[in-house]
Homo-oligomer: 442 residues x 2
């Protein structure tokens, strides 16, 4: 062991911050034995010094000014866990400028300001670590940076929002309605009072941006990613999915298309997943990220994607790496540059098969008419299925009419759907879900 | 980039060796860009210089004397992929003594001589890397060493032999017989001509020893691990498993029992796995390793556990780490020491529920008699099921009689089974499979 302990400054003592503090105390001797580096927590910045806390922290460690962490010359490493983007941005950039390595789990910060922050980190030669920003306790960032280093990444497909996966699992397993499943998730603490960011796909999108930036060594603006959420999925969709051998998951899809100018497909959407695929078995608040590399083939990383302790585990693995690398700053590799073109593919050009559910009046000729229009647009049908849906106020019978469509570009499908919407006996908004093409495992 | 390239010596150009050579060539620029370290392959030791090879290798790189790699002062890192234990042991120990970091994927070597080799590595201050020795392309070693560093490991439960998993998957999915599934695996190249080490559990046991040594920072002699294989599993067992909501997997189980003197449970056995558990979805030649840590909770790592390229991916991630750390030898942490007692629990003391299938003559009173004996030994029954099995040569009817038993120590069950074997109408050898207790995922 070296003699002088490395001194840590921790900003934020919320859920994750207190998990990090407790674990650094509880497993302190284990960590020093394993890392062979002595360390101590020098200072903790909190918003309110007087606030009663579940976690007992010596009062002399606390400060209510996060600038103290940057200004204290004895603090070697800054751990940013205050959340939000405004103060976190100031703290992270000031720390990097001061030559203090930063550990953060702030996905919103990196999705929004990643390009700038990574550039600053490289210019200053001061590393930033962010394992906890995507996938909670799942070591996906270190795996992409180190373990899979010899691979061109063909694709990353993942379930990386625990709240929405809990809701979809409850709908799939128990036939729950969306609204009931959401209330249940809120009761159990798996969904916030305002669950928007989780269910509208944007939390997953932030993480997807970080993964894509890392895998392809490029910076990507958030407006380049196509995002849709799970708010409109119904138990009807799950019934049809089950009947057809699928379940429904909110998937992040990052896929590289060799030889295309805008090669990088990048989207967050609820998708049909074959029930034999391992992603279909990822239930509840668990996350899973499947990475396909040109050398390693198919891999998958699974674990708790959020929560106090799993996230603390990720933060602390970064802290240990930061401590090691603070002795050898050259060791740090930072972003992995990528030799190939990484323009983002327009959503209209992305190609998969689809599940489309129309609500149609129970009249002869509807299937024929829809099939005719699809054929006009060159879209093949691989299966259809229908079931009575509901009786309208005027007594008319409405049916659910489901089509499984062969692969075609998203844009082409949209055009066909516009045309179909003009048919008088078709209700305006069909439900469209992609059928994600995932490799069989054998 | 530093100016002088790091020079690699590769021993072995078999399946994995040629995969490593091809990938180092194919993705050379990607690797240099990502690692920021220039490197080249200086020398490759093969058994036979004249042998025709699928992989084109410049003749001047080849030598048929592996000692050349150790003796060449320009070679910085030695990659051992010759397999076997005798020559590999010599090569690895000589290289470590010569101060050359070693990368190996040789699980038999490490299971047998790990204690000695790790000790030598520590004494010499020369690191040895072995990501490819357990789980093929799955980055389980780096995850245990780095990503999960703040965790006391509660358990590691895994499917880490692709051949046996292919056979069990075929039996589970298509109702195949063991013998047919084995032949099929051999035809597809998933099983060797002599599949013994794969199907008798010892390949998995070697990997389990490495994982256990790493997770608990201790050395373990191979005779401490209880190993049984899949050779006796029949399609009947799969029928009962399915009926009861399970499948059968060859599991490696490493579990720490807090507070017990011999705290470490360590075994390889075919087990019943609940069909809702993610391990039940791991099919074909894929491997998966579930790690439960006190901070991170449940995680799982999934991928191809063997094969040319997946294993090459793991070897090369080690090569890059070795290159980085060769500049900063202090950086290497080696084995993670563990503060707690790690005596190995005797198999008789390990506790799970069980599936037991007897073959019994179709006579009244058999169930009552077996149940009475189980009760004498304090073993509870949670379910029974029976089905006609076959007609003996003398025309007598034999039945399969299945008991699902509550948790009890293995040794206690064995005593009860000895007693039961004395009942005249019970065929001697019942099939006993553990029902592995795995946490629900929610």
């Amino acid at each position: 062991m070296t003699e002088k302990p490395i001194q840590l400054g921790l900003a934020g003592l919320g859920t994750v911050g207190s998990g990090v503090y407790e674990t650094l105390c509880r497993n302190h001797s284990l960590l020093e034995a394993r890392s062979k580096i002595p360390f101590r927590i020098k200072r903790i910045a909190v918003r309110n010094l007087e606030k009663p806390r579940e976690t007992a922290v010596p009062q002399e460690l606390l400060t209510d000014d996060w600038q103290d962490l940057v200004n204290d010359p004895e603090i070697d490493i800054v751990i940013e866990l205050i959340g939000g983007t405004r103060q976190a941005y100031e703290l992270v950039t000031l720390a990097l400028r001061a030559g203090k390595p930063v550990v953060t789990g702030n996905k919103a910060l990196l999705a929004e300001y990643g390009a700038e922050i990574f550039k600053l980190s490289a210019e200053m030669g001061t590393p930033i670590y962010f394992e906890a920003s995507a996938g909670g306790g799942i070591p996906i960032i270190q795996s992409l940076q180190n373990s899979l280093i010899c691979n061109h990444i063909n694709s990353i497909v993942g379930i990386i929002n625990g709240t929405s996966n809990y809701i979809l699992s409850a709908m799939g397993e128990h036939g729950a309605d969306y609204a009931d499943a959401l209330v249940q998730a809120q009761k159990l603490g798996f969904a916030e009072e305002d669950p928007s960011l989780d269910v509208n796909g944007w939390d997953a999108a932030h993480k997807a941006l970080i993964l894509a930036m890392l895998a392809y060594g490029t910076t990507i603006s958030p407006d380049k990613i196509y995002v849709s959420g799970i708010e409109n999925i119904t138990s009807r969709d799950f019934e049809f999915a089950r009947k057809l051998g699928y379940t429904i998951k909110l998937l992040v899809v990052i896929r590289y298309h060799e030889g295309q100018e805008d090669a990088l497909e990048l989207r967050v959407q609820p998708c049909f997943v074959h029930d034999w695929h391992i992603l279909a078995s990822v239930n509840g608040v668990f996350n899973a990220i499947s990475v396909n590399g040109d050398i390693v083939g198919e891999t998958l990383f699974y674990g708790r994607g959020a929560g106090k302790n799993p996230t603390a585990s990720a933060v602390i693995s970064d802290v240990i790496t930061a401590m090691r690398e603070s002795r050898y700053p050259e060791y740090h590799t930072g972003f992995n540059p990528y030799a190939k073109s990484c323009g983002i593919m327009h959503i209209n050009d992305t190609v998969t098969p689809y599940y489309v559910r129309f609500q149609v009046a129970d009249q002869p000729g509807v299937i024929a008419e829809i099939a005719r229009i699809l054929a006009t647009f060159g879209i093949g049908i691989s299966a259809t299925s229908s079931a009575p849906s509901h009786i309208a106020e005027d007594g008319a019978q409405w049916n659910d009419l489901v089509f499984i469509l062969h692969s075609c570009p998203w844009g082409q499908l949209q055009k066909a759907l516009e045309e179909i919407a003009r048919i008088s006996c078709v209700a305006a908004e069909p439900r469209v879900l992609r059928i994600e093409h995932l490799l069989p495992q054998s």
